[in-house]
Amino acid sequence: MKKKSVAMLLLLAMLASMLSACGLFDGMGETTTGAGDKKDGEVTEITWMFWDDLEATEDLITKGYKQVVDRFNEDYEGTYHCNVVTTNLEEYDTKLNALIAAKKTPDVFICNPGPNLTQYVEAGVAADLTEILTEQEKDWYEGFSGGIFEKVTYDGKIMAVPTNFAAACVFYNTEMFEAAGAEVPETYEELLEACEAIQAAGYTPISCSAGTAWCLSMVAGYLCDRVGGPDNLAKIANHEMEWTDPSFIKAGGLLAELSKYFQPTAAGDSNDQATAAFYNGEAAMLIQGSWVIGQINGNNPEFEEKCGVFQFPAVEGGADPNRMIVKTDNLVMSATTENQDAVIALMKYFTDEEAQKYTAEVGGKIPVIDDVKINYEVAPMQLSYVQEILANMSGTLGFYNESLDSVEAGDTFDNAMVDIFLGNATPEDAFQRVQEFYEKNVWK
């Protein structure tokens, strides 16, 4: 009898340890609690996943998002509640993909346009919003700026809602330019001259991160477009053009040349470190998307006055220099969410006038709705410079790595550019590698 009770006790202990082990795995997801088993009068909880820490951040756009969520939770108190899952930017995709694979997709999540969104659309993770937007919520839909849904529409279906958009420009330190006697360059040659002058004056000309590959790749994307644009990407997608085309090779050569003016630690610096080097006055130029305005002014408010903006220079004998790399932040609704109404309500908060006004006036990014009156007196000075550049814009392109066939294709391009920068590969070899990837995986 005694033996039996001991055996039972041991068994219980084992079961308990098993259960606690399962509990551990459950805890890892941190997603919605009790989304399905909702009763009347109970609060509907939804989860929004985002790529920056809402509490610890200095980024003004992120702070704006926090306000949106707080406002939403306050206004809908007792009905809806939004929980936020955050990661840092570098780990975002990985963590989101893991949650999706575990069938714990957040109800709504932020997403880059391009293959990133494409993979969620193709996998059926993203909900089709067309009907909701064009029929049920017509007023909301009509408030958006024209063409804003273009990059998030697949076969006529709208798969995401943009919350703001940004354009990539060259930010520069006007004081350093003055001290070095450098002029704002309009062509690539002039850019090199400016770099020379700045270097001669004892400053680092350009701050760039190759540790975060897409930062370097963005410069490469601009060079590819300035040399060979504007149809490069479309031609690549349809295999009417090879990656070994002379225009790409030339762009690779220009990248190698330009990268001599990067700060010495560029290979190891992260995006944030490279940006900090710029707003802390260690380097004269930063080539970045205009989302960086929020980051710069949030971290070093005094820098706003000396920060100028110019468009990425033309390459002589190349293509149209007035094209800009632009990008939207997008909200994707999970196809499996049980709380569509709450998600739509949250999305509306992100795109309402208050949020959009903040986006422009504090965050320095460009609103996605037409009906918002921006007070340029209080908005960051950089925003109006960016708007001036945008006024002359003749066309847009996406980030190169986000415009290719898949996330992996984008990474292949990014890494090929890093290889050129590190001097491990000639432009010919590096683009040959992208070519091989496309031959094997895309152009089959």
Binding site: K3, A101, G124, A210, S406, V407, E408
Partner: protein, 302 residues
Amino acid sequence: MKRMFGNKRSIWQDKRAIILFIAPAFLLFTGILFVPILQVFYYSFTEYNALTKPKFVGLANYLELFRGDRTMRIALKNSMFFMVFSAVSQQLIGLALAVALSSVKRGKNFFKNVYFMPYVLSSAALGLLWAFLFNPRMGINQILAYFGVEGPMWLSSTSGIIVLPMWVIAFVSLWQYMGSTMMLYMAQISGISRDLFEAAKMDGASGLQVFRHMTLPLIKPMMVTTLSLNCIGSLKFFDLVYNMTQGGPNYNTEVLATHLYTQGFQYFKYGYASAISVVLLGMCLLVSLLINRGIKVQVYEC
């Protein structure tokens, strides 16, 4: 004796008890180990993104892995380097520390804790800590700069067959794990009877002779254990690499586990990632087989 085994109600005959005792462990192992391993074998022959149904593709994943995948070659090279480096360095330093600490009279526990400490701490935290230390804008290079030396790009240099970041990561992992090897050896050494050492001393054996002819043969069984742990641990190694370099720059510090992770969780190629994990499993089994066969263990009465 007779009564005990002759008793009909002995636990060995009580089927219910047998089932009761074995079931939890059996279920646990089947559920979280055997079944997933079998699933991985199946998935490795498919194209699978976890969202649509797996598509059978035969050996395509394996062919691609060994023929076309440049990153796989880098990962194999790095993982092998990592294994050899850890095996050799851990054995030498771990054993040396164990022998030295076993003969130390004062402060033994203090030093034991000092060497063991990194093993107890979270790899993720340590990875970040060392990533900061080796970051060009903070840490070691700043100290070097103070003395007018320009430090290398510890975590982003890409020259050489085995790139510098791999050496750095291997060093950090040595620092982290040598404590555990040391502990295991110390446990084995402390198990050797004191009489033997005293007898050897009385016969006039020098310290080196004692180590060479007594300690070393007597701790051989532990060598098999620690070597297996070192080798398998370093083949499966993931956390420090992921936290310090994410396999970059340009895949140069990719190891098998990080390659698997990128392919599976970044690119949704679970079939392909499964194939990598099958290769990894095969390598681990092979290595532990080689070690167990390769080292002859004699058990001494002591």
